[in-house]
Every structure is written in structure tokens, then in C-alpha cells.
């Protein structure tokens, strides 16, 4: 009897030990509640919500993902998040809780009900290459792209059966671009459309779902080869469209499903190799990638 009790205690202690070890050393990405991040540099972490009556207890780094534990709306209308920060200096796990101003953060997991309002895209913006450097590059751009730029201006005025898959502005266009630091040239095969995380992604045109690859969570950049959660639709007329980096937890159609224009395919997310939530949208015509802006209607 005594021996059996001894064994039971030993079993209980071993389970407690395993639990404690998992809790202490499991990677941050294994347990995610609501997660946000900022693209601002050095956002302050405060001891309480609202700046004037509290002090800073730390700093959040740019693109660092933090867990939201709660939300508070102040009388002034400001929204503050209570967050938990986990860092691993050396072998130690350092945890810190505090408050941050929500306006500096973008949620990368919580769905948002409404799309962003659409903004007009001028031809110059649509055709811009290396927009971050002012669109100027002294290096020669391959001929395909210069022809393409002319086609954008003509096609953008005509509706040719496609609809915008999501609201938001074009943050990075299609085309060849030269790396600003290393100078190597590469083709950006689609258009990156900025959108609120969780905004609905809709089919640009009706067709059959050829590929539906999900199972990716935010943070794992290699998921599905860097594409994240993605859907490819075959429109049956030689064209296909691809929708990449969609959010986890949003319903995606299965392979073989017939979809109509405007049907929901997923939500804007940040899965795969991305720095922030956006939709990477590609159009493939007869096996070749083309500029999506040549088939999408002009935004109002």
C-alpha cells in the first residue's frame, strides 16, 4: 500500500515537472492569444493606460509581436492595450506586462468586420517601381515592363470582368525591380494590396479553386514555401488568380469548389514570408504572370 502511494506521488511529481518545463521553455509562438505588432520604432511600454499619470517600463521594438491581454478605452477616446512582452536574453525568459497605445499597433490575428475604404490609384502610382526610393532607378528596366506600363493606362479604364479582391491601396506593384542595396534585379510577380488584418478577400472573378493551401499560422515564414495560406482559382479562359498570405482561422474554400466573383476566399493576413498584413494578388495568363492592374477596374 505504502509502495503504491509512493509510486502515485512520483507520477504526480513527474507530470508537474513536465508541465512546469513546458510552461517555462515553450517557444512564444506555441501559445498565441490576440497578437499585435508595430511598424513604428521604439514604442513605449507604460505602467498604466494613459501617459500623463504613469511611467515607462520598457520599449517595444519595431515588428516585435506582443500578446494583448486586455483592452481599455479612456474617457478621451484613446484605446490602450494591456500587453505581455516575452524576450529571451541568454537562456532566461523575461516577461513583462504593461500598457501601450493601440494606435501604434496592427492586429495580426483578430478579424476586422469591415474592409478599408478604397482609395484611387493613379496610373503613376500603379506603374511605380521602387516606390520607396521615389520611383527612380537609373538601371534599365526589362522591356516587358515598359510595354506593360503603357498597357496599364489603357486597360485600367476598361472593366474586363475582374473585380478588386480587397479594399486598400497598392503598396507594392507588379514588375521588375532593382534591390536598392545590392542592385540585383527581380520580378515581383503580383500586386501587394494593403488592408486591415481580417478584411475579407473576395474572388476577383468566378472559377474553380485549383489550389487551397492552409494550415499556416502567423510567424512561420516558411509555411507553404513562403506563400502562407493561399488559394489559386482557375477561371477556365486561360487565366488564373492567386491570393497569398491570408490569415489563419478564416474559412477558405476547398479544392474543386466552384466560386463566383465576390465569394469570400479568406481574410487579409500575415502568414508566410511577409512583414505585415496585406494581400499578394497575382494574375497568370496562359502560363505567364501579368500585371494585375491591366485587368482590374479603375478604383473610385
Amino acid at each position: 500500500m505504502t509502495k503504491r502511494m509512493g509510486n502515485q506521488w512520483a507520477t504526480l511529481i513527474s507530470y508537474l515537472l513536465v508541465f512546469a518545463l513546458v510552461y517555462l521553455y515553450a517557444p512564444v509562438v506555441s501559445a498565441q492569444a490576440s497578437t499585435v505588432k508595430t511598424n513604428h520604432s521604439d514604442v513605449n511600454l507604460w505602467s498604466g493606460a494613459g501617459r500623463p499619470s504613469h511611467q515607462t517600463v520598457g520599449r517595444i521594438k519595431r515588428f516585435e509581436e506582443i500578446q494583448v491581454l486586455g483592452t481599455k478605452r479612456l474617457k478621451s477616446g484613446e484605446v490602450w492595450y494591456r500587453v505581455q512582452l516575452r524576450r529571451f536574453p541568454g537562456w532566461r525568459k523575461q516577461e513583462q506586462t504593461g500598457w501601450v497605445d493601440a494606435k501604434f499597433f496592427t492586429s495580426i490575428e483578430n478579424p476586422v468586420v469591415d474592409d478599408q475604404p478604397s482609395e484611387s490609384v493613379t496610373e503613376a502610382q500603379a506603374a511605380c517601381v521602387n516606390c520607396a526610393t521615389g520611383g527612380k532607378s537609373t538601371a534599365p528596366i526589362p522591356k516587358q515592363q515598359t510595354d506593360d506600363i503603357a498597357a496599364v493606362g489603357k486597360a485600367i479604364r476598361n472593366k474586363v470582368g475582374f473585380a478588386w479582391p480587397v479594399g486598400g491601396y497598392v503598396r507594392s506593384g507588379f514588375g521588375y525591380r532593382r534591390h536598392p542595396i545590392k542592385g540585383v534585379v527581380k520580378l515581383h510577380k503580383g500586386t501587394d494590396i494593403s488592408g486591415n488584418a481580417g478584411a475579407k478577400v473576395k474572388a476577383a472573378k468566378g472559377g474553380v479553386v485549383e489550389i487551397s493551401a492552409g494550415g499556416c499560422k502567423t510567424g512561420r515564414k516558411s509555411c507553404n514555401g513562403g506563400a502562407g495560406n493561399m488559394v489559386t482559382i482557375n477561371h477556365g479562359d486561360g487565366t488564373k488568380t492567386r491570393y497569398l498570405h491570408m490569415a489563419p482561422g478564416c474559412r477558405m474554400p476547398k479544392r474543386g469548389t466552384r466560386v463566383s466573383q465576390g465569394d469570400m476566399l479568406g481574410c487579409v493576413g500575415a502568414t508566410g514570408a511577409v512583414t505585415g498584413p496585406h494581400l499578394h494578388f497575382e494574375v497568370i495568363k496562359n502560363g505567364k504572370w501579368i500585371n494585375p492592374l491591366t485587368v482590374l477596374p479603375k478604383r473610385r
Binding site: T11, S14, F63, E64, F88, I181, H188, R220, K221
Partner: protein, 124 residues
């Protein structure tokens, strides 16, 4: 015997979910920053606040690798990026970009974000 087995399982579990974040060598970030600054200065590219931009690029890639869920992928990411910035041979660079569109695409986004934020001011 049963207790020994349980401890063995606990030990194996621990080694598979260890805090690998600490094992990404911090020197990768420094190497990327140094190589980035050197690339800009050697070729004479006109990039405003290029040192701030390079610092941002190095830190962002490092933080991103640390935040990866799988150690091998984190190491693959940081090693590819470090080699990319340290390589000066254009043919080799082009091969690296063509064969690894995943990290190349991610780096493009990091560079764009860092350049935009440095042009707007480092603190908001």
C-alpha cells in the same frame, strides 16, 4: 522503471521545444548591418540615412528569425540573408534570388519598410 521512462520523455520533450530563440547568434545582425553599409558605400548608391536603414534591416531580420517557430527555418532565414548581404558577386546574388524567392521576397519587404520609415523619421 516507469518513473525513469517518464523522466526520459520529459527530457526529450524539453530538448524539442527548447527556447531556441536564444540560440540565434546575435552576430548575424551585426554582419548584415556591416555588409549593408559596405554595399552602399562601395557602389555609391544615394540612399538617405543609409546607416539607419541598414541598422533597421539587420535588426528586423534578426528579430524576425528569433520569432520563428522552428529553429532550422530560423537559421535558414538568417544565414541566407547574411550571405545575401555579404556576397558581392552579382551572378551569385542573382542565383541566390532566383533559387530562394521566399527569403528574397521577405527581404524586399523589409528593405521597403525600413526605407520608408527612415525617410519619415525614426520615431513617431
Amino acid at each position: 522503471m516507469k518513473l525513469k521512462l517518464q523522466f526520459l520523455v520529459a527530457g526529450l520533450f524539453l530538448t524539442s521545444v527548447n527556447a531556441f530563440a536564444a540560440e540565434i547568434d546575435r552576430s548575424y545582425a551585426s554582419r548584415i548591418i556591416v555588409a549593408c553599409v559596405k554595399s552602399v558605400e562601395q557602389v555609391g548608391r544615394k540612399i538617405p540615412n543609409y546607416k539607419v536603414v541598414c541598422q533597421c534591416i539587420g535588426e528586423t531580420h534578426y528579430n524576425s528569425a528569433v520569432g520563428e517557430g522552428i529553429k532550422s527555418e530560423a537559421e535558414d532565414h538568417i544565414r541566407w540573408t547574411t550571405e545575401f548581404y555579404e556576397t558581392t558577386n552579382m551572378k551569385k546574388l542573382q542565383r541566390m534570388v532566383d533559387r530562394n524567392p521566399k527569403w528574397s521576397s521577405f527581404d524586399d519587404q523589409v528593405v521597403d519598410d525600413c526605407m520608408m520609415s527612415s525617410n519619415q523619421g525614426s520615431k513617431k
